[in-house]
């Protein structure tokens, strides 16, 4: 230390704002937060839940809408699907002791012709299907599945591709050949090691040659399940419609808890394919009115996948608004929680503020210090929230079948919001700290 007296008139050094100074402020802020860890953790809890709920909510919403779109893709946005359903009154009477020989209901070939005639210009294709619940055998292995008797255009109209081999041909339909295409999942169950193509499977005494396997469909398929069926598309077997009619007849016998019951259903399902999706909803209404005219009983159902999607989207929007509001409120509460603690901290550290002011800290230095601390607190909460918010959807997907999608921008957005909340709720306490009179602050006990 030199002993020469300081120049009383020396120019005052510059105390400009630099990046390295900000870095030091941040480092000191981290230290100050770290020095009372538990309190800091409790302070940011609100922020943690706010941020994690934003991320989790968006992930669930994205997953749901992706799933809905995927279903639409499978069902076809250009399609109207009509289905046979067992009318309630038959269901009732079949339970009573009186039992008719065979109940007759559902869509008929005549219905399809009528629709074809009426809407000749608008419709591209109609794909009828019979769906029969049966056990399918290969050697000693058995799978209970839906046997779908249909026509060659089924894969095209339902956006469902053959993965291995081929679908059946027009001539196989004409000849009522016993050929079949297996759903992916059941092919794995029946043929764990062997190549299914070329082998034969047995269904109630008849043998069918396997000519193809459908692609895997990874999504659960609400709306795809048929009357009385809970099987997914993967657990289906496709055979020519003519073969289905011929082998199984029109009257099906179903095992129920009360014994047997028989029913006569010509078609279980038909997919009406339009060239585009513009008129699909109105066309669905026309189809419905045609069927209503022809059916006395309430034994059919018209489903327009696009309308279902629109409904799903509308309810998803409401869901998002509600959850968004909840997330917003929890972020607000989180911010207020942090502000509250920061105000207490400012009062608690009045003396420290006085000391810093005496040692040359300007008002903006004090503002920066407390603002940085609040932002750090808030951002720490945001970071923990991001981790939690990404963990929650992953475990939802793990423990349930619900699909969740975390878009890369959602953690970024949620984290930025936590930073912004830090700024907004940090300004007031920081101003309070900076407004203090140095002398008063130094005298504070």
């Amino acid at each position: 230390m030199n002993s020469s007296p300081p120049d009383p008139f020396k120019a005052l050094p510059n105390s400009g704002f630099t990046l390295s100074r900000l870095k030091r402020t941040v480092r000191l802020g981290v230290k100050s937060i770290y020095s009372h860890g538990l309190r800091s953790l409790l302070t940011v809890m609100g922020m943690v839940f706010g941020v994690s709920s934003v991320i989790a909510m968006l992930a669930v919403g994205e997953g749901a809408s992706f799933e809905a779109q995927e279903q639409l893709r499978q069902l076809g946005s250009n399609n109207i699907i009509i289905k046979s359903i067992k009318p309630a009154e038959i269901e009732q009477s079949s339970r009573s002791s009186y039992r008719p020989a065979a109940v007759e209901y559902g869509i008929t070939y005549q219905d399809i012709k009528e629709i074809e005639l009426t809407l000749e210009k608008e419709i591209k294709l109609i794909v009828p299907a019979r769906i029969i619940r049966e056990n399918v055998w290969y050697q000693s292995r058995k799978v209970n599945c839906d046997i779908v008797g249909t026509v060659v255009t089924y894969p095209q109209v339902r956006n469902f591709k053959v993965a291995v081999g081929r679908f059946f041909s027009q001539s196989e339909i004409y000849n009522r050949d016993n050929v079949c295409v297996l759903g992916y999942e059941m092919s794995k169950l029946l043929f764990p090691v062997q190549n299914p193509i070329g082998n034969t499977v047995k269904v109630s005494g008849d043998y069918y040659k396997v000519i193809g396997i459908m692609e895997e469909s990874g999504y659960s398929n609400l709306g795809q399940s048929e009357a009385g069926s809970s099987n997914s598309v993967s657990n289906r077997m496709y055979i020519p419609l003519t073969a289905a009619k011929h082998r199984f007849g029109e009257t099906l016998i179903r095992q129920t808890s009360g014994g047997q019951e028989s029913e006569t259903v010509q078609l279980h399902e038909a997919t009406i394919n339009l060239p585009n999706q513009d008129a699909v909803i109105e066309m669905g209404q026309i189809v419905e009115s045609i069927l209503e005219r022809r059916h006395k009983k309430d034994d059919f159902e018209v489903e327009v996948p696009l309308a279902l999607l629109r409904q799903a989207e509308a309810s998803a929007r409401v869901f998002n608004i509600v959850l968004g509001a909840i997330a917003g409120i929890s972020l607000l509460v989180g911010g207020i929680g942090i502000m509250n603690i920061m105000l207490a901290s400012v009062t608690e550290r009045t003396r420290e503020i006085g000391i810093r002011r005496a040692l040359g800290a300007k008002r903006h230095d004090i503002i920066l210090q407390f603002l940085v601390e609040t932002i750090l607190l808030s951002a720490t909460g945001g970071l923990i929230g991001v981790a939690l918010g990404m963990f929650v959807p992953l475990s939802i997907t793990y423990f349930t079948d619900m699909m969740t999608i975390i878009r890369f921008w959602t953690p970024v957005l949620a984290f930025s919001i936590s930073g912004v909340v830090g700024v907004i709720f940090g300004i007031y306490p920081a101003m309070r700290a900076a407004e203090m009179d140095p002398v008063e602050a130094l005298r504070h006990e």
Partner: protein, 231 residues
């Protein structure tokens, strides 16, 4: 007093308005401070010593009158400019040490330099040098609560020296210390005086005042006497 004048207060008044009552803490004080002065300020409790120190320390503005520090009249300056002057030209030593509890010894010492915008490497070097000088070179990473009162006050002195101030202001620096620690502090003050620093110290003790070179006595906000101390 051959040395030049580095600070001057001219007819300084300080009044506090307490509702209806007006308290006049300083009532026309004139004092000149010379380079290298070692001044003790004495007087009964409530006579305005701390108020005067606050004005001298640019923590407070006089209600009336002039305070010239260096070449500048600082009595009318804005808050930011006063902060700048405190950080660049003044050093403070308080009765209750006033160290920042969550910072280490070194961080406390370098705080004035931090606010002056010095890079950390420079300020840390200076802090270590000053810690050694006050005999606490081995304690730079300790927190204040791990130190005795005397040690804390020595940290405060090191801090007051870090910005190489024009004037060092000490308000009852030994008020909280036992006589042994107090003596250590005063020995440090003597050293600083010998090195040419300008020291202004408030004290209640005649014994301490006798170690200074000049004694200003206040009474009721006015200078009662201002004379050289004869050893």
């Amino acid at each position: 007093m051959a040395n030049e004048i580095i600070a001057e207060i001219k007819d300084v008044y300080k009044t506090y308005q307490m509702g209806e009552v007006t308290v006049e803490a300083l009532r026309g004080v004139d004092i000149n401070f010379h380079q290298g002065d070692y001044i003790s300020i004495m007087g009964p409790s409530g006579c305005g010593k701390s108020t005067l120190m606050n004005v001298l320390g640019c923590l407070d503005r006089p209600s009336k009158g002039q305070y010239i520090l260096g070449k500048d009249d600082v009595s009318k300056l804005e808050d930011d400019a006063l902060s700048q002057i405190r950080g660049a030209r003044l050093g403070f030593i308080f009765q209750s040490y006033n160290l920042i509890q969550q910072l280490t010894v070194a961080e406390n010492i370098e705080l004035p330099l931090y606010y002056q915008g010095y890079p950390e490497s420079t300020s840390r070097e200076k802090a270590i040098e000053l810690a050694n000088r006050v005999g606490l070179g081995d304690r730079i990473h300790h927190k204040p609560f791990e130190l005795s009162g005397g040690q804390q006050q020595r940290v405060a002195i090191a801090r007051a020296l870090s910005n190489d101030p024009l004037i060092i202001l000490a308000d009852e620096p030994t008020g909280n210390l036992d006589s042994k620690s107090g003596a250590e502090i005063l020995n440090l003050f003597d050293e600083l005086h010998q090195q040419g620093k300008t020291l202004i110290m408030v004290t209640h003790s005649d014994e301490l005042a006798e170690r200074s070179k000049r004694c200003v006595r206040l009474r009721d906000g006015k200078v009662e006497s201002d004379e050289l101390v004869t050893a």
